[in-house]
């Protein structure tokens, strides 16, 4: 079994079979990270470049650890220390990296479509680690994996995604992923953060958080992305928190065994009350653990086989 494309640019391009292959492979990789010697020799002699042109703790560390646990050489480039500050274009940077013959390039960029340009420019496999407000496929895959391991399956579940839907690549990738896998998705957020025609993606849209989380099996809270907002789209953080924050009171509307997810970083006290973020039914840190396994699976599946 193999993935049909050279790159992983978005969930939109993946088939259900490919998603299942990635999740099954990732589940087998979980064990490697629990060993005393957390390393297998599989990608010995391979080079992975992590080109992170936008801030990241989790995703970058996760990709770096994933590469290292597979014995690949990993190199991290961030925008502040790269020649991008000297005015080099993305394509020139890509061609120069390609000339050093890596095997996989992981890219995060603030512009939607940057990984796609890179994938057309270089012969290496490109993994999208988040492009603007477009997609964040590895996040959606680790979310699917976390849901599947906690709930046994994804099909038939009621999932609410709440917050800044319009600016969220996590929401977009998860909507593609969850609907492909047969879950029912409801999104909620202030009208200014709700894309028009969102229903065309196969989801139900609500203007009130309470409406979206009724009978939910899973609630995914999104971070308010102050860095992507060009104008004031809500009056104040306090008001946002009052109407769209998840707390002890409104969570009772969901199913008794509801699980809370968040892609991180959490704005405590804004979208998530602190006691909810730390509650036993919060699986935010499981998401992080599974993230390493999903990225190991992708590096493994995208390397070699010529």
């Amino acid at each position: 079994m193999k993935l049909t494309q050279k790159d992983l640019l978005g969930i939109k391009d993946l088939s259900v079979e490919e998603i299942n292959l990635i999740l099954d492979t990732a589940e087998s990789f979980i064990e490697v990270s629990t060993r005393e010697i957390k390393k297998v020799p599989t990608l010995r002699g391979k080079t992975v470049i992590n080109l992170f042109l936008e801030a990241s703790t989790r995703t970058r560390t996760s990709f770096e650890i994933a590469g290292k646990r597979l014995s690949a050489d990993t190199i991290n480039i961030s925008s502040s220390t790269s020649s991008i500050v000297k005015g080099e274009t993305l394509i020139d940077t890509a061609k120069n990296l390609e000339a050093m013959n890596p095997d996989i390039i992981v890219i995060r960029h603030s512009a939607a479509g940057a990984p796609h340009i890179l994938a057309k420019t270089v012969k290496q496999s490109v993994i999208n680690a988040g492009d603007g407000a477009h997609e964040h496929p590895t996040q959606a895959l680790l979310d699917l994996m976390t849901i599947r391991s906690k709930k046994g399956q994804i099909a038939g579940l009621q999932v609410a995604i709440c917050g800044d839907i319009a600016h969220s690549r996590v929401a977009r990738s998860n909507i593609y992923a969850l609907t492909k896998m047969g879950a029912s998705v409801t999104v909620a957020g202030p009208a200014t953060m709700m894309p028009r025609y969102i229903e065309q993606m196969g989801v139900k849209a609500c203007c009130k958080l309470e409406d979206a989380i009724v009978d939910a099996d899973i609630i995914m809270m999104l971070r308010i992305q102050l860095e992507r907002q060009t104008e004031h789209i809500f009056p104040s953080l306090r008001e946002y928190s009052t109407y769209f924050g998840l707390n002890r009171k409104n969570i009772t509307l969901a199913k008794d065994d509801v699980l809370i997810m968040h892609p991180g970083p959490v704005n405590r006290g804004i979208e998530l009350a602190p006691d909810i973020a730390d509650a036993p039914f919060s699986i935010i840190l499981d998401q992080v653990t599974n993230g390493v396994a999903v990225r190991m699976a992708l590096l493994y599946l995208l390397t070699g086989g010529n």
Partner: protein, 179 residues
């Protein structure tokens, strides 16, 4: 599927496993610090059967691990289709353990090479012994088995398949000319 020949039937497999179980106990002077490690997938079922047999003989349930060697294969990045990765499950560190590695067919020895590399990542075993149901020859590496169910001379054009009830519904070792 021309020229299929059954070289071991269910009784034959069971007798071989009984003998191997006795041999393991004899060679190691008991079951102290033994651990059975089955190589996915055939070796896992054989290791389970050996474990039951040793329990019957010695009255001791010895620990058992499951090993998937995919990540250690020397051709893992060269094959067109990636082998599906299975789960490895090692119950404890292998430090100072006597490891009985169990597989169904011993052929080139490359699987065993990969398995030994994997085992070392789980600690420093006191020793590793190899148990196989069938040794069909054609080694490409300096590896030999300590316990063999049946030595089966074969040509490179033949395929040897071990069928186990847990996997394919019947116990049988079949040799056939491969197409």
């Amino acid at each position: 599927m021309a020229n299929q020949k059954v070289v071991m039937d269910a009784d034959g497999i069971d007798r071989s496993l009984t003998r191997i179980a006795y041999e393991i106990i004899e060679k190691n002077k008991g079951v102290e610090s033994l651990i059975l490690v089955g190589i996915r997938t055939g070796g896992v079922f054989l290791a389970q059967r050996l474990r039951e047999k040793i329990l019957k003989i010695e009255g001791v349930e010895i620990p058992m691990g499951i090993l998937d060697i995919t990540l250690y294969r020397d051709d893992v990045l060269k094959t067109q289709k990636k082998p599906l990765l299975g789960k490895t499950d090692m119950p404890s560190s292998l430090d100072n353990k006597k490891v009985i590695l169990v597989d169904d067919v011993l052929f080139t020895g490359r699987t065993i090479r990969a398995a030994m590399d994997a085992l070392i990542d789980f600690g420093r075993p006191k020793l590793i012994q190899l148990s196989v149901l069938v040794d069909r020859g054609h080694r490409e590496l300096p590896i030999r088995a300590d316990f063999v169910g049946k030595n089966l001379p074969s040509s490179l054009w033949e395929a040897v398949t071990v069928h186990l009830t847990e996997k394919t519904g019947r116990d049988e070792v079949v040799i056939e000319e491969s197409v």
